[in-house]
């Protein structure tokens, strides 16, 4: 469950930014999460609520922007979106590795 330390990092980044902006409360935190970032969205959502407790982000909403990985077949050139690292090309059945999908970034916060 490394999602707990990830959730704590997300809240730390958000709280630090909010305090610098002299905000009193964080309403929402928007996070970009790639399909191959190694983070289970449901586990992150579960941990997020606990990580927000007793901070100015308590009760904040986690808005996840989920990004797919991309795969381009080296045999036939077909491009497709995927959430797996190893893929079979839907066109020519060759084996294709995905690229990208590693995003794990706090995009923005909404504060009062």
């Amino acid at each position: 469950m490394h999602e707990m330390s990830i959730a704590v990092s997300i809240v730390d980044i958000a709280v630090k930014t909010a305090q610098e902006a002299e905000a009193q409360k964080i309403n929402a935190i928007t996070v970009e999460l790639g399909a191959l970032a190694g983070v289970v969205p449901e586990a992150l959502e579960f941990c997020f609520e606990a990580a927000c407790k007793e901070t100015i982000a308590e009760g904040a909403k986690l808005e996840l922007i989920r990004l797919p990985a991309l795969a381009k077949c080296t045999s036939c050139g077909f491009e497709f979106e995927t959430d797996q690292f190893l893929n079979v090309c839907p066109e020519c059945k060759a084996q294709v590795l995905a690229a990208g999908g590693q995003e794990l970034q706090v995009k923005s916060i909404n504060v009062d």
């Binding site: 469950m1 997300i10 980044i13 983070v39 794990l104």
Partner: protein, 280 residues
Amino acid sequence: MCDTCGCGEHEDKITYQRPGQTSHSHTHTHGNHEHTHEHNHDHDHEHDHNHNHDHTHPHDHDHGKTIQIETDVMQKNNLLAERNRGFFEARNILTLNLVSSPGSGKTTLLEKTIQQLKDEINFYVIEGDQQTLRDAERINAVGAPVIQVNTGNGCHLDASMINHAVKELNPAANSVLLIENVGNLVCPSLFDLGEAHKVVIISVTEGDDKPLKYPTMFRNSDICIINKIDLLPYVDFDVQVCKEYALQVNRRLQFFELSASKGEGTEAWFKWLKERLHSE
């Protein structure tokens, strides 16, 4: 109860202890501090309401204010990992991060490596486990300075734990620092510690399709050790298939096939370690 400050043991506390020590140091995670600052000044809020209606009040706090951040969540860990890496490079300390499932033979491999090479190489070891000093005691018994990091509920080591442990261990220049991560094929793959190489260990009592099931760990490693090869006659594990799967995930992987407990195949590993240290 901790001897140093009298605080109680909490499972979410990280402890650092060396065999034979009665006290230990620890770090607490203070991620949830709240500070309330009283201040009176005009807020320079920018409200961008993309709808047209008359406001009868100056602020509509339901909408709040959006602040763009665009900060990588792993940034703090990665920056600290780079600081660790700089320290290791400056002192020519070859640092390896050993990762695997529990029970693949990481500690046995460390014991045998230290026993075999301790006259030629200064070894230091950081042991990561959720609980107990057992692994550190095994390393201490073969004569290498060791510190045990107990992560409590944590499933991985991170760069700040290594930073703290290295300060206590104080490894000498031109040495090898072996970090035995918490036994887990998932979480440790995401946390850079500042190592020169991640070494993934798989034993033949596991499935040969593990590289496909846990691709992130194999993709992020440079070295793959296939351990317990003395058991191959008794298990349904195809070394070639396992290597092919691992290479599908990561073309750069370099393999060592060995039995840490019986010694078979360990010469190539020892040779690589010596050459790698002196090539720094």
